[in-house]
Symmetry: C2
Subunit: 143 residues, 2 copies
């Protein structure tokens, strides 16, 4: 990974696909990923890991199937939320959002237990930023 700062907005500007997380940093054996989202993802669960969301722009909703029933949390810009391991959840963003996620490297975007995955969803453990690294220009070595 880069040993220089990465600008999240430039990283996000380097791709167009929605629900297609891109890895902007690694922390030990965890990824920091960013994604553009719009519409609905699928119900899925990660048996072995929590999944952290930070909303950079727009509003993200996450529906959760919990022992007490189903509920949907609404995350406006600047909100954080952790989906506990094993909890079935379905992210959605009716009007679009950009998000940052923190999860173990190798975590599949659709979990290890999911509904049928529609064509518009990317099944990935996170894409690398493109090789010309537009995200790499956001910060700089100080003079």
């Amino acid at each position: 990974m880069s040993n220089r700062p990465i600008s999240l907005s430039q990283a996000l500007a380097s791709f167009d696909a929605v629900w297609s997380p891109h890895v902007v940093a690694r922390v030990n054996d965890y990824d920091v990923r960013v994604a553009k989202v719009e519409g609905e993802h699928v119900w899925h669960a990660h048996a072995d890991t929590d999944e952290f969301f930070l909303v950079l722009d727009g509003t993200l909703e996450i529906s959760l199937r919990e022992p007490a029933g189903e509920r949907t949390v609404r995350l406006p810009r600047d909100s954080v939320f952790t989906v506990p391991r094993g909890t079935e959840h379905k992210p959605s963003a009716p009007t679009g959002a950009t998000i940052l996620m923190f999860e173990p490297t190798g975590t599949l975007s659709v979990g290890d237990r999911q509904e049928n995955v529609p064509d518009h969803l990317d099944v990935t453990t996170g894409h690398a930023l493109s090789s010309n690294e537009p995200g790499g220009e956001g910060g700089s070595d100080a003079p």
Copy 2:
């Protein structure tokens, strides 16, 4: 930790101290911490873990002592950077900044190898948000 969304700006508004990270979320055995920073921290290193920084507002500088010499990376708002484990580093923010960090729960703010810690710096593994949880109002269950 909260099972509701947390607003980062409201969490940050709940305390005044600089260089005093507060835990806003947990992800497996990692903390998500936010801090207000201004002026200089101390040179320190974490032998066993990388440390991730996202600049929410303002500009953060991180000086690094690397095998090739010393350099300072400058992180404007919206930038991310990971300090590799074992690398001596000194964060500073001449004009102030607010930052978000990912690191293993229990990681000490001044590392496990550091200079003398001046009085203005908090030696902590991260404070809890206050019990009235002003950060807890940022998101909501959708209707």
